[in-house]
Subunit: 217 residues, 2 copies
C-alpha cells in the first residue's frame, strides 16, 4: 500500500471512530482518548492527521460538501432533485456524514461550522437553479436565492424529523414528498409531469445493497 | 398575590432561568445549582415545582404545545399560515420556547421529547387541513398526513437556519417564503391569490413591540 493511501485510510478510520463517539456522546463529551481507543492508532498518528478535536470536527464538516455531488442531467431541475436524493441516500449509509450534519445543527463549544455547510449547499443548488432558469424550466419571477435557502432549510428539518421518527429509514419518502409538494411552485407546468421525484432505479438498487451492508445500530 | 399565582410565577422564573442556562451550556452541562443561582429561589422551592433537571426539561418541551395557538379564520389554510407565523414570532421573543425547540432538535441524555413535539404540531395542523379539505380549499388527491409531516419538518429546518444566519431575525421572511413556494402545490388556484403569507398588520405591530422589550443577547 502506498504511503499516501495508508494515510488516507488512517484519516478515514479516525473520522469513522470519531463519528461513532460523537453519535454516542455529542461533541462536548467526546474525547480524543476514546476516539483513539476505537482506531487502534497511536496518539502520534492521530496528531499527525488532526492536531485537536476541533480539527477532527472541521474535517467532518468538510465531508458534507463532498456529499454534494452534482449529477449530469439535461434537465437541471432533475439534477437538483437527484442531488438531494443522493445526499439523502448517503445520510442513510454514511455515519461520518450523519455526525457532520449533527455537528451543524447542534449548538456546542465547536462553533466553527456556523453558516458554512448551509452556504455550501445553497451554492451547489443555486448554480443548478440558474442553469434551470436559463433553460426555461422555472416559473417566472422566482427569487432563486430565496428558493435555494428555503430548500436547504427544509431538507435540514425533514432529515432531522426522519431521524427521530425512523432513524432515517423513511428519509427517501420524505424527500420525494418534499419535491411533489414544492415543484408546482417552482417548475413550469409543462415540465412538471416529466420530473421524477423518486430515486432512479439504479440509485434505488445501490441503496438496497448498501443498507444490507450497513447497520445504524 | 394569591398562592397559586405566586407558584406560577416561581415556575415561570425557573423555566426562564433554565432556558438561559441551557442556551449557554446545552442540556448535559446545565446544572440545577446554576439554574437555582439565577432564580434566587431556595432548592426546596425548586424541588417543589420540579423534582429533577429532567422535569424542568419536560415542562419546557410542554411549552411548545402551548405555543400552537389555533387562530379563528374562515379560510382554514389562512389559519394554518397564521399559526406558523405566530409560532415564529414567539420563537423570536420567547427564550423558553427557543430552549424547548433546542431540546427537541439536539440529541442529549434527555431523550424524553422524541417524536412528541413534532407529533403535537402535526396534529394541530392536520385538524386545520382536514377542515380546509372539507371546505374545498385544497387540491384534490393530497395526502394530508404527508403534507403536515412535511410542513413541520420544513419549519423545523428553516428556523434552525434562521438562527444560524441571523439569530432568527429573518425568520418571518423565511416562513413567508416557505408559504409562497409551497401553496401552489396545496391550495386550489382560485384560493391562491386570496391567501396572505405575511403577518397580519396587528401581528406585525405586536412583534415590533415585543422585540423592543426583549433582547436575545
Amino acid at each position: 500500500m502506498a504511503v499516501q493511501e495508508r494515510g488516507e485510510r488512517s484519516k478515514r478510520s479516525i473520522l469513522e471512530a470519531a463519528a461513532s463517539v460523537l453519535d454516542e456522546r455529542g461533541y462536548d463529551a467526546a474525547s480524543t482518548t476514546e476516539i483513539l481507543a476505537r482506531t487502534g492508532l497511536t496518539r502520534g498518528a492521530l496528531y499527525h492527521h488532526f492536531p485537536s478535536k476541533e480539527a477532527i470536527a472541521a474535517a467532518m464538516v468538510a465531508a458534507q460538501s463532498e456529499a454534494l455531488v452534482v449529477p449530469e442531467r439535461a434537465v437541471k431541475l432533475q439534477a437538483v432533485i437527484d442531488l438531494s436524493l443522493e445526499y439523502a441516500r448517503r445520510l442513510q449509509s454514511d455515519p461520518v456524514l450523519r455526525a457532520s450534519v449533527r455537528l451543524t445543527v447542534e449548538q456546542t463549544s465547536f462553533t466553527n461550522p456556523g453558516r458554512t455547510p448551509y452556504q455550501q449547499s445553497v451554492e451547489a443548488l443555486l448554480g443548478l437553479f440558474r442553469q434551470a432558469e436559463r433553460q426555461g424550466e422555472t416559473l417566472p419571477g422566482l427569487d432563486l436565492e430565496e428558493v435555494t435557502q428555503y430548500i436547504v432549510g427544509a431538507f435540514t428539518g425533514i432529515q432531522l424529523m426522519s431521524q427521530v421518527f425512523s432513524r432515517r429509514e423513511d428519509l427517501m419518502d420524505r424527500v420525494s414528498a418534499m419535491w411533489r409538494l414544492l415543484l408546482p411552485g417552482i417548475a413550469t407546468p409543462g415540465l412538471l409531469p416529466r420530473l421524477r421525484t423518486t430515486p432512479s432505479p439504479s440509485t434505488a438498487a445501490h441503496t438496497a445493497h448498501e443498507e444490507s451492508l450497513s447497520s445504524e445500530g
